[in-house]
Symmetry: C2
Subunit: 119 residues, 2 copies
């Protein structure tokens, strides 16, 4: 029951596409992550995923469109929908998703992160 300051937590790490756990509720995680560059195309079979931009902006690529998500905006990617975040500049993002969610979804590669750090 302590509060969490997003900027403070985000200042504590600098690597990209490596989400940290900043909170847990109802079986869901609040994660904080920085993106820069291009992620991998993937989907989640069983999890819907919310991306909220804390600072900066990024492009959410879907197979049929690209949506630019700016500071103060969120997008929900429903389960099963292929997507790929691309950030031309560094962007700070808060994720809200089930604790079971793997960052690369159905894909396992060098970008896959497990045993996420809690901050």
């Amino acid at each position: 029951m302590d509060k969490v300051n997003l900027a403070e937590k985000l200042s504590g790490f600098s690597d990209y596409f490596n989400p940290r756990i900043a909170g847990e509720l109802n079986g869901q995680h609040i994660k904080l992550v920085k993106f820069k560059g291009e992620f991998v195309w993937h989907h989640h079979d069983n999890e819907d995923e919310l991306f909220y931009v804390v600072k900066g902006s990024f492009d959410m690529h879907m197979r049929d469109k690209i949506v630019t998500i700016n500071e103060g905006e969120f997008i929900i990617m429903p389960r099963g929908v292929e997507h790929k975040p691309v950030a031309n500049e560094e962007v700070e993002v808060m994720l809200f998703e089930p604790a079971s969610t793997l960052n690369t979804g159905n894909v396992i590669n060098e970008k896959t992160r497990t045993n996420l750090e809690s901050i």
Copy 2:
């Protein structure tokens, strides 16, 4: 799969303690709400609740302490924990909580809101 701009959604209403639904995922709701004044002491038997301040600040009263939540900060109120939000000035808040969550929890009074509007 459209994005949601919080400021734009929040500009669309002006009443207090009347949450709107701005998104749904994994059985959870994203709600937007404005607080001004004092809410009612309550708890939720089965739901944890996250309060993220988009603009302004408010005091989260618990029985043993008061925590001031400022812009860019969140607090998670675990199920069973009594709480009461108090805002001296208008504050804009994003909530993450199960779709089943009633705003006044175990209390039914004139502040209780059901059949929330989706925006």
